[in-house]
């Protein structure tokens, strides 16, 4: 059993993955390594190739080139055996319009080789999902929950989740995060694709960032922390001098009574102190979007 990058402990090990659709190149030499027991974030803007990668890992699409191993097997040739050991939540959940949510959960669970009825029921309760409704009557968020319950109720080693919280409300998102932490505690492995940095930050041990089909960054959250700047803007009674000199505070812009800046986590206390000394009347802070992050990343290197 030759692992492509010589990393036999990796649950997912991909080197040089290439996939084209007609003339459009979706993946262009992608590398990805996910270790056993970790929650791995798979970040990238829309159209970066996240879903294509997941579909190749599932054997739904065939790679044009590249070496890969999933749970020690070949995703294309050993698809059926591998699928007994993994579960997948597609990004765009399509339910059969006339089947109830409960029927879909049980069907997909059994097709995977069985599901834990106790876990199924507790997940239904946790996600406040009514399993008796027909597929077509669920909202987007509830369709997502059906797919999540179907995947999470199975006792599998690996979870492949494609933007799993898209459409969930913040309370459900919280439930999801708690559950993923429990999964991590059980020693299971999760590959979670997302385009929101905060979600990945809250959940993941390691992160791979891709853009236009290639990896631009991979590492632990701590290693990537320098990328995660928070955008702060505030209205002040009087703007103090020297904000730009504070450690960890970048890109300070002053427009009359209003300031904005990008701040590392370590620079936050000093900035907050300075702002409250300046008499804050309004304050917003937001994590930067991925695109901003990429732009900054490329500008810095």
């Amino acid at each position: 059993m030759n692992a492509p990058s010589g990393n036999p402990s990796a649950v997912i090990d991909v080197v040089g993955l290439v996939k084209s659709f007609g003339r459009a190149k979706a993946l262009n030499g992608l590398n990805l390594s996910v270790a056993r027991g970790e929650v791995h974030g798979f970040l990238g803007p829309n159209g970066a190739g996240k879903t294509t990668t997941l579909r190749i890992l599932l054997g739904l699409l065939r790679a044009d080139a590249g070496k890969m191993r999933v749970l020690g097997g070949d995703p294309w040739l050993d698809a059926v055996d591998l699928h007994r050991r993994l579960a997948y939540v597609p990004g765009d959940v399509a339910l059969w319009p006339t089947l109830s949510g409960g029927e879909v959960i049980d069907l997909l669970g059994r097709l995977r080789g069985g599901l834990d009825p106790q876990r199924r029921d507790s997940l239904l309760e946790r996600f406040e999902l009514d399993p008796t409704k027909k597929g077509r009557t669920y909202s987007k968020g509830n369709r997502q929950k059906v797919a999540l319950v179907a995947a999470l109720a199975s006792d599998v080693e690996l979870l492949l989740l494609d933007e799993p919280t898209l459409g969930l409300d913040p309370l459900m998102e919280e439930q999801f995060r708690e559950y993923i932490n429990e999964v991590r505690g059980d020693g299971r492995t999760v590959l979670l694709s997302s385009h929101t940095l905060s979600e990945v930050e809250a959940l993941c041990d390691r992160v791979t960032i891709i853009r236009e089909g290639v990896v631009v960054e991979t590492g632990t959250m701590a290693q990537l922390r320098h990328l995660a700047l928070t955008a702060v803007s505030a209205d002040l009674a009087n703007v103090p001098d020297g904000l730009a000199d504070l450690p960890g505070v970048h890109d300070v812009v002053v427009q009359g009574q209003r300031i904005s800046a990008s701040v590392e986590a370590k620079g936050m206390p000093a900035l907050m102190a300075a702002l409250s000394a300046g008499g804050v009347t309004a304050l917003t802070s937001a994590p930067p979007t991925l695109e901003e992050l990429f732009l900054r990343h490329y500008r810095e290197t």
């Binding site: 699409l61 997948y88 109830s100 409960g102 029927e103 097709l111 409704k133 797919a147």
Partner: protein
């Protein structure tokens, strides 16, 4: 009120753009059928005496009256030539109009596209108004073309116009029915089903009404299909009856708009009933069966009734065939056995062609499941690709075989009851079963297309239409024999009768197997396609 209709023009153009092929093809084919029926009847019944005999024959055969209705003027060439067009084809036209209205109203809403449209500068009543304008327009154009076809075949002017107006009014009436149905249900399949049920009830009511007595029974007067018969084109030309379908349209359309106004986007009058909290489905075959079952149940009922009626008229039909031209046709279709056997063989050939359409639509699930993303969910589990695909094509093949069995037994029982010989059931059933492989070839052709080139799965319907047209008109047009031989339906054994060639059946089964193998292997090696 005006703002409710804002955007209608744009939506009409959108609908016409989406249906730029569908509507012209359907309307053109329907009008061509009218023209063809009319001109063929002129050739088949050249003398007034032969027409009167044929018309009296139909009027005195209960099952023919139930199927087609009465001919109100036995001397009229037009009335005789439009026997099938007045009830049966008017029902088909109605089915088309229901499908079109639902396609542009409830189906759009269910798919969420209406939400996208509705958030633009579009009035609340605009989508349905646009759909009704398009479908109403299609009905009127179809009526005009049908009238033109009848005129071209040399039938009287007034009768031709009345007939066309009858079709147009029937189409309008069922467009309005569909508009109401689309407000009642939340799913487009259910809305179509409701519309079709109304058509079936209208058809059934007039069948009973027509049988009830000489002249119009009151049940026929409750039915839009019955109204179309009572217009009596070429047999009295009663324009005034057209008031009934038009009045029904004028009543139903406001009802649809009021219902629309009172409900939210996405909801219907009939609430979706909750389903089970836990499911019993546990295999791909179980899932495929669950998805295909409603269609198969409907087809089983329809096939049984149609086949029974056909079987029960077989014996009487011989009397219809005094014209030598008609005898020729039946013998060509059915071989050189006794005329009743020949007619039964022709009926079974027709039945196998129709049931092949079930097979094509059932196996088409492979493509719709794939493009809807359902296949992705299933194939991400421990379900092998071949197993998933087989669950659908196996059920489609089994469904075709089952429907042929039902049709064979029903035809046999109809014939056996008519002539009082129970021994007829078995040979006719066997004859029907011998037609299964031809229909299987159509199913397996779709599997091959889908496996090799998923986006071309719909070409199966094109091939099907081509085989039917070539089979129906090939000899008339002088199409070369090798082209006619491409159609699987031309290779089925001609049964019942003593001189059946069974080799064709075996070859058809082999070809079906080969197509399925090609499709399965190709699917095993390709990407899942969106």
């Amino acid at each position: 009120m005006n703002s409710d209709l804002t955007g209608t023009t744009v939506l009409v153009r959108l609908a016409l753009r989406r249906d730029r092929l569908l509507i012209p093809i359907w309307i053109g084919l329907s009008a061509a059928m009218v023209w063809f029926s009319a001109s063929a009847t002129v050739d088949l019944y050249p003398t007034s005496a032969s027409r009167i005999e044929a018309a009296n024959m139909i009027n005195s055969t209960a099952s023919l009256v139930a199927l087609y209705g009465r001919i109100y003027d036995p001397t009229s060439l037009g009335a005789l030539s439009m026997t099938k067009m007045t009830a049966v084809y008017a029902s088909l036209v109605s089915i088309l109009m229901v499908m079109l209205v639902v396609r542009h109203t409830r189906a759009e809403e269910e798919a969420g596209r209406l939400e996208l449209v509705g958030s633009g500068v579009v009035g609340r009543a605009a989508p349905m108004t646009a759909a009704l304008l398009v479908v109403g327009g299609a009905s009127c154009v179809l009526g005009l073309l049908a009238a033109a076809g009848l005129l071209a075949a040399g039938l009287p002017v007034i009768g031709s116009l009345v007939f066309g107006a009858g079709w147009a009014a029937t189409g309008l009436c069922f467009s309005a029915v569909a508009a109401v149905a689309a407000q009642v249900t939340t799913g487009s399949r259910a809305a179509n089903g409701l519309g079709f049920t109304v058509i079936a009830l209208a058809y059934g009511a007039r069948a009973i009404g027509d049988l009830a007595e000489e002249g119009p029974g009151w049940l026929s007067w409750l039915s839009p299909i019955g109204w179309n018969q009572q217009v009596r084109a070429f047999a009295g030309d009663r324009w005034s009856v057209l008031v009934l379908p038009l009045a029904a349209t004028a009543l139903l359309m406001p009802v649809a708009f009021i219902l629309r106004r009172r409900r939210d986007l996405g909801s219907g009058l009939l609430r979706d009933r909750p389903g089970p909290a836990a499911g019993a489905l546990s295999s791909p075959v179980g899932l495929a069966w669950r998805l295909q079952r409603p269609l198969l149940v409907a087809w089983t009922a329809g096939s049984a009734v149609m086949a029974f009626l056909m079987g029960s008229i077989a014996n009487n039909v011989v009397g219809l065939l005094d014209s030598p031209a008609m005898k020729d046709i039946i013998q060509q279709l059915g071989g050189k056995q006794g005329l009743t056997d020949a007619f039964l063989a022709a009926v079974l050939g027709l039945v196998s062609t129709i049931i092949a359409a079930y097979g094509i639509s059932a196996v088409g699930r492979l493509r719709t499941e794939e493009s809807a993303g359902h296949a992705e969910s299933v194939l991400a589990t421990a379900t092998p690709r071949i197993g998933w695909a087989a669950s659908h094509w196996l059920l489609a093949l089994a469904g075709v075989a089952w429907l042929m069995l039902v049709a064979g037994v029903a035809t046999g029982m109809g014939h056996a009851l008519a002539i009082g010989e129970p021994g007829q059931v078995l040979p006719i059933t066997v004859a029907a079963l011998a037609r299964i492989p031809a229909a299987w070839v159509m199913v397996s052709l779709v599997v091959a297309l889908w496996g090799v080139w998923p986006h071309a799965t719909g070409l199966g319907w094109g091939a099907y239409a081509a085989f039917i047209v070539v089979g129906e008109f090939g000899q008339l047009w002088g199409v070369p024999q090798w082209v006619m031989d491409l159609s699987p339906f031309s290779h089925s054994p001609v049964l019942p009768g003593p001189h059946a060639e069974l080799a064709g059946m075996v070859w058809l089964a082999v070809i079906a197997g080969a197509f399925i193998a090609v499709g399965s292997v190709a699917f095993r090696h390709r990407d899942l396609a969106g």
